[in-house]
């Protein structure tokens, strides 16, 4: 039993703590997150591997599904809506649909992650947010691959690489930050109200058309500026900007829409922090 002999007989306790009925402080919660970073990465890797393990084409599906969706939308909208005015409409649609598919995937899996992970949560302690964030991380490789595909497609769509292409980086950061904060809030709510799952499914259908993903905001006339207050508009516009540039041709007010997204993200992150630090150890009682 050599493994046992390795440990000194009186090893100092590394993890000594006491749990009372009171919620944890923000500092405690954040330190606990940090302490579980390895578990977080490991769970994300596991989710990603498991998701595509048995599929013959594996991770290609992560690109193929939004790719097909983007292709259909580009074909349909460009045919009926006559949108090509000085920029590549296919590039415009494909970029935002790739972003949208990350949003719909993380919202679908992340917001139910605490309930779905009940078999783990019931047996072992780790901050429950780990389950949610790992879903957001697990969807990242798929997003990255589709963005590589986008970069390959851009010249084919007749858009060259330009400085605006670099906006892809802040676009991804904004998308991931927004999705993570939102799913953290929704996952906590979902523990208490299982209706959340179905509300999300319904909202995805509606929001897709209330967000300028497949059409330019400007085409909506007087309704266009109001869309800036939809936090998803800012994210979609960032992807449009990275793909085709020239926001004057399709956005009503790009900085405003991005500022709304940023503001909403910060508010959601603070709400998520409060909800999780107060309820972290109580979620399991309701699973």
């Amino acid at each position: 039993m050599t493994a046992l002999a390795e440990r000194p007989a009186a090893a100092p306790s590394r993890e000594t703590y006491s749990i009372g009925p009171e919620p944890r402080t923000r500092r405690e919660w954040l330190l606990d997150q940090w302490a579980h970073r390895e578990v977080l990465v490991m769970l994300a890797r596991k989710q990603f591997h498991v998701r595509y393990k048995r599929a013959l084409f594996g991770v290609l599906w992560a690109v193929a599904v939004p790719g097909i969706q983007a292709g259909i939308l580009a074909a349909v909208f460009s045919h009926f809506v006559h949108t090509h005015q000085g920029y590549s409409y296919p590039a415009y649609v494909v970029a935002a649909v790739f972003g949208w598919s990350y949003y719909s995937q993380t919202l679908g899996t992340g917001s139910t992650a605490i309930v779905d992970g009940s078999s783990l949560a019931d047996k072992l302690w780790f901050p429950r947010s780990v389950l949610v964030i790992s879903e957001c991380l697990a969807a990242l490789p798929g997003l990255c691959i589709s963005l590589v595909l986008l970069l390959i497609l851009l010249p084919i769509f007749g858009v060259g690489y330009a400085p605006h292409t670099l906006f892809l980086i802040p676009a991804v950061l904004l998308l991931v930050a927004f999705c993570t904060s939102l799913t953290l809030c929704l996952s906590a709510l979902h523990v208490y109200f299982r209706d959340v799952k179905y509300m999300i499914q319904a909202s995805l259908l509606v929001l897709f058309y209330l967000t300028p993903v497949a059409y330019p905001q400007r085409r909506l006339g007087g309704l266009g500026p109001w869309m800036d207050f939809n936090p998803l508009t800012g994210v979609a516009n960032m992807f449009h900007l990275a793909a085709v540039g020239r926001p004057d041709l399709w956005a009503t007010n790009l900085p405003r829409s991005v500022a709304v997204t940023g503001g909403v993200t910060i508010v959601l992150a603070l709400v998520a922090l409060e909800a999780h630090r107060r309820r972290d150890r109580l979620f399991v009682d309701l699973l």
């Binding site: 050599t2 046992l4 591997h49 072992l124 209706d195």
Partner: protein, 414 residues
């Protein structure tokens, strides 16, 4: 809060309340006032105090629903108490079930890493222990096979191997020793003993009195969410069975013509009244019969049933108790016998019949007693068989065996 030295786990007047919802919470209902789902409170634990010193091994027993699982959850830090405080002094490996986080599509190797990291090991620590874990689980040739192709025994072995190699300061074990075949059980048990000798604190929840007796000098009995007993294991085990018997007795509904009543049932072993019988000991069943009416030559009928209702043994009077009994008379009945039942729960029943064999009194549940099986033997009766090979009896270290008796014992109140 600073740890008092030497304390590994502590519950300080801990209570845990759950809300029992009459119906699933629905968002719409909770938004509209006066239409909230009704809920009733349910205290799984109440005012529980328990201190476990570093290096101690403590057994936890209690009926299902007594609060054992809630207690383990609190000690594992999975949930927080409603009142009081839980103090945890060291890295805890909760072995509440085997193979937590195992995914069927992933290989044994990948699952070892997932499971190990969930138990608090770092990737590097798992690298260092990997070969030992695989060797312990005896899965060298299957480690790169997805675990969905594993037999349930292989699955359990791998899960247990990871947990037992996670080298915790506190090990919480919930009824998982019954994994794999007897040889593997023995190996797990040896390993638990090594860990115990190493100074690791162990909290061991089990229904198996045999396993508890072998591993834990101290045992805590939880009943109805409170501490019913905390002390030496032999005493605790008897206490546990007394609680079980009392609860069984409360549910038993006696019936009869009310002309006769049986009371004060007890079983007396070598050390006095008991509910828990060792094998091959002389014991005496004792009860009182009260007569409320005049009865002529009643018959006494003693019967033993297994907990599944199988009739195991019977003994009755043939000509009846001599004489006539007047209303208000009381007699004491003693039935001595040699205890040769197998390991199980039994009901000892005393019925009273009249001269024509019509029941005057039918004992309901009767007296419920528990018999520990002789290690290596099973069944309703103990025939005291031996296994002799070439003239040599097979001598096994029965004190380490968790054999069939253990598995059978686990069925008691499930």
């Amino acid at each position: 809060m600073t740890a008092s030295r030497g304390i590994s786990l502590q519950l300080q007047t801990v209570g845990k309340r759950y809300w029992k919802l009459e119906e699933q919470a629905i968002l719409l209902k909770s938004i509209i006032p006066l239409w909230r789902p009704t809920r009733t409170e349910l205290w799984a634990l109440r005012d529980l105090d328990l201190t476990i010193a570093q290096g101690e091994t403590v057994g936890i027993m209690g009926r299902n629903g007594a609060g054992k699982s809630t207690m383990l959850r609190l000690l594992a830090g999975v949930t927080q108490p409603t009142t009081g405080r839980v103090f945890i002094g060291g890295r805890v490996a909760p072995l509440l079930s085997v193979g937590v986080g195992f995914h069927p599509e992933m290989s044994g190797r990948e699952n070892v890493y997932v499971n190990g990291m969930l138990l608090g090991l770092t990737r590097r620590q798992i690298d260092a222990r990997f070969d030992q874990i695989v060797a312990f689980a005896e899965l060298e040739s299957f480690i790169d096979t997805p675990v969905k192709f594993y037999s349930s025994g292989m699955f359990m072995r791998l899960g247990f191997a990871v947990a037992i190699h996670s080298d915790p300061e506190v090990l919480l074990v919930d009824e998982v020793l019954a994994v794999g075949d007897v040889a593997f059980q023995l190996k797990c048990f040896q390993r638990m003993r090594d860990i115990q000798a190493q100074g690791t604190t162990i909290v061991f929840v089990s229904h198996s009195t045999h396993a508890i007796r072998l591993l834990c000098p101290r045992t805590v009995i939880i009943s109805g969410g409170t501490m019913a007993f905390d002390g030496d294991t032999p005493e605790a085990i008897n206490h546990h069975f007394e609680i079980l018997s009392r609860e069984q007795g409360e549910r038993s509904g006696e019936s009869g013509s009310a002309a006769v009543e049986v009371s004060d049932r007890e079983l007396v072993g070598p050390d006095g009244p008991t509910y828990h019988l060792p094998y091959d000991e002389p014991v005496t069943y004792r009860a009182r019969i009260h007569f409320r009416e005049r009865v002529v030559r009643p018959q006494a009928q003693f019967q033993v049933y297994s907990h599944t209702g199988v009739f195991v043994y019977g003994r009755r009077t043939m000509a009846g108790l001599s004489g006539t009994f007047e209303a208000g008379d009381t007699v004491e009945v003693e039935i001595p016998f040699q205890q040769r039942l197998g390991g199980d729960t039994y009901r000892l029943v005393l019925n009273v019949l009249d001269q024509t064999d019509d029941p005057l009194y039918t004992d309901g549940e009767g007296l419920v007693v528990y018999v520990a099986a002789r290690p290596g033997s099973a069944g309703l009766v103990d025939l005291q068989a031996d296994i002799v090979v070439d003239g040599q009896p097979v001598n096994e270290d029965v004190d380490l065996m968790l054999g069939p008796g253990k598995l059978r014992a686990a069925e008691y109140d499930s």
